[in-house]
């Protein structure tokens, strides 16, 4: 009885809420439609003129022409100008409007129809969001990555945040790293239209992006191996390019990997040797892991390393025959250990068997013992 009695008002309440939300939303939508088109026309009276511009006191010329077409093709096609540029409340406006604040609609639990996602909060706590909060004028807003009027979903290849366009988008600010990335094997693969090639966000994350020193960062030294492993530990992906998918597990079983796992972050991770943005295959003479450059790369930590560091494999899997002598040593020890232990167990087992067997006739022997002692 009690649960149903309790449930009833709750469902009633939620039903009421639903009705309320629906009615409010419909009124809002129906009410804005005529106003929107009117507003847009009023804005475009000036901003729709090609060549509409303003010369700032500094002498800089600001182009103020707005082509309405991209907005109409974007995800915000149904919105009008002042819904985003909300601080414009008279036409013509006297002040220069502030940059658009997307949070007016884009927050979790919004009723405006913007997607419900935790990404908004994630951005607040990201390196960019925190810089923004701290008042850094260079910190990016949503529109710096997603674009202003021509916002498209990430799945659209024309989108600024679509897979292939991410490096360019990030590169607008991180220009030096973009240059390195473009020269790297990943950047070149992307340029060739490879969909497997990682872009910035595949390693650094999107809205969750953190500075590498943050423990939660996907590119923190503690997490690099797993981040690279997202692709490099997958046989399905690596097979296509003839790369060994064991590289991540061999790293994790090496001293570098184990030290890293136990929290020694100065121990080498993938990026320590392969570099982060200008990764190149070992046969490239510019690569940090080209045999010619290995003494220098290893020598960054192991001072005095010479050319012999390049003699032999770096990623060694003792269970793989291609590991050569290491494979045979491992196999030899496996056989030695198993046979030794088998021998020892058999010896112990037989010893115990004999001791247990010897115990039985003891009872029979017991009365004899005193006679032996009584004899002399």
């Amino acid at each position: 009885m009690r649960p149903t009695a309790r449930m009833k008002p709750k469902s009633f309440l939620s039903g009421r809420w639903m009705t309320f939300a629906f009615v409010t939303l419909s009124i809002a939508l129906l009410g804005t439609v005529p106003v929107r088109s009117q507003d847009d026309l009023r804005c475009l009276t000036c901003h729709g003129k090609p060549g509409f511009k303003k010369t700032l006191p500094s002498g800089q010329v600001l182009g103020l022409f707005v082509d309405p077409t991209p907005l109409r093709l974007s995800v915000h096609k149904k919105l009008n100008c002042v819904q985003c540029h909300a601080d414009v409340n008279e036409v013509p406006h006297k002040e220069r409007p502030q940059r658009v604040n997307c949070k007016r609609c884009h927050y979790q639990g919004n009723t405006m129809g913007a997607p419900q996602t935790s990404k908004y909060m994630e951005f607040e706590n990201s390196v960019h969001g925190l810089a923004l909060k701290a008042g850094n004028p260079k910190a990016p807003l949503c529109q710096d990555c997603h674009g202003g009027h021509f916002i498209l979903p990430g799945s659209d290849p024309r989108s600024r945040v679509g897979h292939d366009n991410v490096p360019q988008t990030c590169g607008t600010c991180h220009i030096k790293i973009y240059g390195q990335y473009r020269e790297s094997i990943h950047g070149k693969a992307l340029a060739m239209g490879n969909k497997d090639a990682p872009v910035c966000t595949d390693c650094h994350g999107e809205h969750t992006i953190q500075r590498p020193s943050a423990p939660s960062s996907s590119v923190n030294p503690a997490n690099v191996a797993n981040t690279c492993g997202k692709c490099h530990a997958k046989i399905v992906i690596m097979k296509k390019y003839g790369i060994n998918a064991e590289q991540v597990s061999t790293y994790k079983n090496s001293f570098h990997g184990i030290a890293n796992e136990f929290g020694v972050l100065k121990a080498a991770n993938c990026a320590s040797c392969h570099t982060a943005h200008d990764i190149l295959p070992p046969d490239d003479p510019r690569s940090s892991v080209n045999p010619k450059n290995i003494p220098k790369t290893c020598g960054r930590c192991h001072h005095g390393a010479n050319a012999n560091f390049a003699k032999g494999r770096i990623h060694v899997d003792p269970d793989d025959r291609s590991a050569g002598i290491v494979y045979w040593v491992a196999l030899g020890f496996k056989i030695l250990t198993l046979s030794t232990l088998a021998g020892l167990f058999i010896h112990i087992g037989l010893d115990l068997f004999r001791q247990v067997k010897a115990r039985k006739p003891r009872e029979a022997r017991l009365p004899e013992a005193p006679t032996e002692e009584n004899e002399p």
Binding site: N253, F255, I258, A259, E261, F262, G263, V264, H302, H303, G304, A305, N306, N308, F309, A310, K311, G312, R313, I314, V316, P318, A323, G324, I325, V326, V329, A330, F333, K334, L336, T337, T340, L341, L344, F345, I348, L350, D351, L352, F353, R354, Q355, K357, P376
Partner: protein, 334 residues
């Protein structure tokens, strides 16, 4: 047949003991010179030696040699006395203090190395993470591991020195060398275990089991110390031999560590702890003593040897303890 063996050993041993280290060396030197030179030449050589060194120096050396011999003899007698005392007390000294300290250093460093090393091998296990952080993180365990490594290296090197420089070390080492008899003993023991043979094989100071233990540790030390130092001084090693030497050392170090640990935990712990005869553990490692009854059963040939030396002691009017022992051994002791 094993009787003869035992007697042969005893005589050789007694000779060895009486002569002493320095005396033996002096004899060997003397012999070598004598073989090559005639009596006259030798005389002349001695004269010229005495002249060049000065007679006082020669006399001093002779005196020192004699004092050394005396000390050796006194020490030997003290050992004999202690042995006799122990025998009459119902137990024998199986391990000298010297050996016990070696064993303690060995197991202290081995335990240190296992506790700080195996968590690295089994780094995926939750207990490894717990242990490593309990000890203060990998930076600390690395230092502890190397302290253990120095301890193990020290005892390894010292033990080699011990087996060469000390009378008891040389004697025990000689008795630890595997012989055909050990294989025979092994099959005899198997027969006994399976009920084919009624009696146990008769062991001397070291049974084939103890010999296996000893040589297993020897092999383990060689592998672990060699590979361990390659890993420790990796840049030096790789610069010299190429990166593969490091991988081989890593594999050998890791695998032999597991083998050694399992051998100790299963085999050695069974022999000294979990064997129903010894549970919960033999105290020989601590006080060096072994019960006379157990000693008679486990090392009958060594016991017999001891009796022989006791008989000699008795004939040279040394004491009544030997008498007590002999009567005890005959089984008519109350």
């Amino acid at each position: 047949m094993s009787d003869k063996c035992a007697r042969g050993w005893r005589r050789a041993d007694t000779d060895f003991v009486v002569q002493g280290v320095a005396r033996e060396l002096a004899d060997a030197l003397d012999k070598e010179i004598r073989e090559d030179l005639t009596e006259d030449q030798l005389e002349r050589l001695r004269d010229s030696l005495a002249d060049s060194l000065g007679r006082d120096a020669a006399a001093g050396a002779r005196r020192a040699h004699r004092a050394f011999e005396d000390r050796q003899r006194r020490r030997q007698k003290a050992v004999e006395r202690r042995k006799k005392k122990a025998l009459s007390a119902g137990s024998v000294e199986r391990l000298s203090l010297h050996l016990r300290i070696q064993h303690m250093i060995l197991f202290a460093s081995t335990i240190t190395l296992i506790v700080t090393g195996l968590p690295i091998k089994f780094h995926d296990a939750a207990i490894s993470v717990f242990l490593i952080h309990l000890m203060g993180g990998p930076g600390v365990t690395r230092i502890i591991h190397r302290i253990g490594a120095v301890g193990l290296t020290f005892i390894g090197v010292y033990h080699i020195f011990y087996t060469m420089a000390f009378e008891s070390g040389r004697r025990d080492f000689g008795r630890l060398i595997p012989k055909l008899q050990d294989a025979k003993d092994f099959f005899h023991q198997m027969g006994y275990f399976l009920g084919v043979k009624k009696d146990k094989p008769l062991f001397g100071r070291f049974s084939y089991i103890e010999k296996f233990d000893y040589w297993a540790v020897y092999w383990g030390l060689v592998v672990m110390i060699t590979s361990g130092y390659i890993l420790w001084f990796k840049v030096l090693a790789i610069n010299q031999f190429g990166k593969s030497i490091y991988d081989i050392a890593m594999e050998a170090h890791s695998d032999e560590a597991l083998l050694a640990t399992l051998a100790i935990v299963i085999w050695h712990f069974y022999n000294v702890h979990f064997n129903p005869k010894r549970f919960p553990g033999s105290l020989t490692w601590w006080n060096g003593r072994m019960d006379l009854e157990e000693f008679k059963e486990e090392h009958p040939l060594e016991y017999e040897e001891m009796l022989q030396s006791e008989d000699i002691a008795k004939s040279s009017k040394e004491g009544s303890a030997g008498e007590a022992l002999s009567s005890k051994a005959r089984g008519d002791f109350p």
